[in-house]
C-alpha cells in the first residue's frame, strides 16, 4: 500500500523535526545553565526581531531602508544647501520648523515599522483541538435550511451580518476586521495592508503611527519643495534664472535632483494621505475598501457597521483611541509548562513544542494536516454539484488510517467553496475564496468545469483510501508531504488574505 510504504518516510521526517527541536527543549530543561529564552525566539510568524525582541519587523526590510535613505538624504540636502540661504534671507524659523517636521516624520516611521501591528497569537493545541471538535460536530449534524459551513461563523454586528473565517495557519476564527498577512504569516487585527515602505504590516496598533507618518511626510515634502523653489526664485531674482541654476549645480550640486524627488513624492504621498484620511473618516480599512466589503454595490442595504456615524468620532477613534497592548508578549520568558501555539513554520527550523505536546510530531498531526488538505481539495466538487457527491462520495472501503478521517469528511458540508476549476488545473492545490466576493466566479466555473475535475478528483478520494494512482498534476509526493502541506496552507492563506 502506498501509504504503508510512505509511513516510515513520513515518520522519519517528523522524527527529524522532533530531534532538531530537542535542543530548545534541552535548553528549557537546562535553564539554570543557560539564559532563559524569550518568546520572540520561537515566534511562529515570519517576522524579524531586533534588540532582544523590542523591535519587530517583517522579513523583507530592504524597501524600508530605501525609505529611510530617501527621507534622510532629501532632508539632509535641504538643510545643508537651502537652509543657510533661507535662514539668512527669510527667517530662521524655516530650518527650525523643517527640523521639527523631519524629526516627527522619522519618529512616526520608526514607530510604525518597529511596533507590533496587532498580531494575533496562534491558538494553543488545546484550543485548536476544541475548535476542530466543534467543527466536526457541526459537519456531522444536518440541519434544515441554510447554515453557514463550519469553517465560517456568522455574527450580526450592528445589524449587519459579518462572516468570520477560520484561519488554517493560526487555527482560530478570525475576529472581525482581522486578516491573515501572507507575507508575515500572521493574523493581524484590523488589518489594513502590508506596507513594504514601512517594512511591516499596518494594523490596529500601528495604524495611527502610519497615518501620522504619511501625513507629516506630506507636509515635509511640500515644505521642502516649496522652499527649494523659493530658494531658486530668490536667487534668480538677484542674478537671473539661468545663473541661478548654474550656480545651483556648481555650488549646490543636487538642488535639481532634490526638486525632482520631491515633486514625485509630493503627489504620491499627498494622494496616499488623502486616501487614508478618507478611510479614517469612514472607519474602513484598506483591505475592506479594496474588497468593497461595505459598498452599496454589493447589496443595497450594505453599510459599515463599525462606523460611528460622524466623521469627527471616526477620526478621534482611529487616532486618539486607546492604545491596545501587544498580545504576543515577545519579550516574555518561555515557561516550560505553558502550551506553545501550533506552528506551520515553513522550514525556518523551529517547530515549537514543549514536552507535553510532542504529539505534534505524531502521525496524528500529519493526518490532521492532510485531512484539511484533502477536505479542501475535495470540497469544490461537493459544493457545486450534489450529484457528484453521490458518485465521488465516500472513498471505497479500503480504509487506512489516512482514509479514516478523510472518509468522514469527504461527504461533509461544503465548507470551502472554491473557484478552482480542477484540482490539477491550478498551480496551487488549494484555493480558498471569500464566498461573497467570488461566488459568481465559482458558479460560472462549475457547470462547465464539473465533468473534468471529476476525473482527477475521483482519484483524490480513493487516493485517500488507497494512496493509489497519482494524478500527475496533484503534486502529491508523499516524501514531500510536509512541503506540500506548507505550500497548500500558504496558498490557502495567501488567497484568503486577499
Amino acid at each position: 500500500m502506498h501509504l504503508g510504504l510512505d509511513e516510515p518516510v513520513r515518520e522519519c521526517q517528523y522524527n527529524q523535526i522532533c530531534t532538531r527541536n530537542s535542543s530548545p527543549m534541552e535548553t528549557l530543561s537546562h535553564k539554570k545553565k543557560r539564559t532563559p529564552r524569550r518568546k520572540w525566539q520561537i515566534f511562529p510568524g515570519r517576522n524579524r526581531f531586533y534588540c532582544n525582541g523590542r523591535v519587530m519587523m517583517a522579513r523583507q526590510t530592504g524597501v524600508f531602508y530605501l525609505t529611510l535613505v530617501l527621507i534622510m538624504v532629501t532632508s539632509g540636502l535641504f538643510f545643508a544647501f537651502d537652509c543657510p540661504f533661507l535662514a539668512s534671507n527669510l527667517t530662521p524659523a524655516i530650518p527650525v520648523i523643517g527640523g521639527v517636521l523631519f524629526l516627527f516624520v522619522l519618529g512616526m516611521l520608526l514607530r510604525a515599522s518597529f511596533s507590533d501591528p496587532g498580531v494575533l497569537p496562534r491558538a494553543t493545541p488545546d484550543e485548536a483541538a476544541d475548535l476542530e471538535r466543534q467543527m466536526d460536530a457541526a459537519n456531522g449534524s444536518s440541519g434544515p435550511g441554510y447554515r453557514p459551513p463550519p469553517r465560517i461563523r456568522e455574527v450580526v454586528i450592528n445589524g449587519q451580518t459579518v462572516k468570520l473565517k477560520y484561519c488554517f495557519t493560526c487555527k482560530i476564527f478570525r475576529p472581525p476586521r482581522a486578516s491573515h498577512c501572507s507575507l508575515c504569516d500572521n493574523c493581524v487585527e484590523r488589518f489594513d495592508h502590508h506596507c513594504p515602505w514601512v517594512g511591516n504590516c499596518v494594523g490596529k496598533r500601528n495604524y495611527r503611527f502610519f497615518y501620522l507618518f504619511i501625513l507629516s511626510l506630506s507636509f515635509l515634502t511640500i515644505f521642502i519643495f516649496a522652499f527649494v523653489i523659493t530658494h531658486v526664485i530668490l536667487r534668480s531674482n538677484r542674478s537671473g534664472f539661468l545663473n541661478a541654476l548654474k550656480d545651483s549645480p556648481a555650488r549646490y550640486p543636487l538642488t535639481g535632483r532634490e526638486v525632482v524627488v520631491c515633486f514625485f513624492s509630493v503627489w504620491s504621498i499627498v494622494g496616499l494621505s488623502g486616501f487614508h484620511t478618507y478611510l479614517i473618516s469612514s472607519n474602513q480599512t484598506t483591505n475592506e475598501d479594496i474588497k468593497g466589503s461595505w459598498s452599496t454595490k454589493r447589496a443595497k442595504n450594505n453599510y459599515n457597521p463599525y462606523s460611528y456615524g460622524n466623521v469627527l468620532t471616526n477620526c478621534c477613534a482611529a487616532l486618539c483611541g486607546p492604545l491596545h497592548p501587544s498580545l504576543i508578549d515577545r519579550r516574555g520568558f518561555i515557561q516550560p509548562d505553558t502550551p506553545q501555539p501550533l506552528s506551520h513554520s515553513n522550514g525556518s527550523g523551529l517547530y515549537p513544542s514543549t514536552q507535553n505536546h510532542t504529539h505534534m510530531c505524531d502521525q496524528e498531526h500529519c493526518i490532521q494536516s492532510t485531512k484539511f488538505v484533502l477536505q479542501a481539495a475535495a470540497t469544490p466538487l461537493l459544493h457545486s454539484d450534489p450529484v457528484m457527491m453521490g458518485r465521488a462520495g465516500p472513498p471505497p472501503s479500503g480504509k487506512t488510517s489516512l482514509g479514516g478521517p478523510c472518509s468522514s469528511l469527504a461527504p461533509s458540508q461544503p465548507s470551502l467553496p472554491s473557484s478552482m476549476p480542477g484540482l490539477g488545473c491550478a498551480g496551487d492545490m488549494l484555493t480558498l475564496r471569500d464566498p461573497d466576493a467570488h461566488c459568481h466566479h465559482h458558479h460560472f466555473v462549475s457547470p462547465e468545469e464539473m465533468p473534468s475535475p471529476l476525473g482527477p478528483s475521483s482519484l483524490v478520494l480513493p487516493f485517500a483510501a488507497h494512496g493509489g494512482h497519482l494524478n500527475p498534476a496533484q503534486l502529491y509526493d508523499p516524501a514531500s508531504q510536509d512541503s506540500l502541506h506548507e505550500d497548500s496552507v500558504r496558498g490557502l492563506v495567501k488567497l484568503s488574505s486577499v
Binding site: 497569537p121 476544541d130 454586528i157 457597521p305 483611541g321 486607546p322
Partner: protein
Amino acid sequence: TRHSASLATKVFIQRDYSEGTVCRFQTKFPSELDSRIERTLLEDTVKTLNTYYAEAEKMGGQSYMEGCLACATAYIIFLCMETHYEKVLKKISGYIQEQNEKIYAPRGLLLTDPIERGMRVMEVSVFEDRGSSGSSLSSSATSGGSAQR
C-alpha cells in the same frame, strides 16, 4: 490521604463579537461545566470581566486626552507612564486571581487570564481529583476528554 489533582479537560469560553471588535466574552454557560459550578457564579465573573474590558477600551474624554498627550510627546511619555489599558489589565488579572482563590479553586477549576491566550478565549481548566471516585466527574471528563491529547 491527599488527592492529587490532574487536568481532565479544558473548556473554552469564546469571544462575543456581536458588538463589534470590542473585547467581550460570551456569557453563555458551557454545558461541560454544569456539574462543576453554579451558572450564576461563572456568568457573574464573565460579566464583570466584560465591564472591565469595556472600561479599558472606552473612548471618552480621558482616552482622548491620553492619546493627544502621547502624540504631542511623540509617544515618549509611555516610557514612564502606563497606558490606561494596561492599568485596567492589571486590575483584571488581580480580579481573576481573587476569583480563582475564592470560587474556582475550591471547585477544582482554574480560570486563565485571557491576555495569556491572546484575548481569544477564556480558558477554564477542569481538574479531577485522582483517587476520587465521582462517577459524574469521570463521565464529564471523558466526554471532553477527546480534546485532551
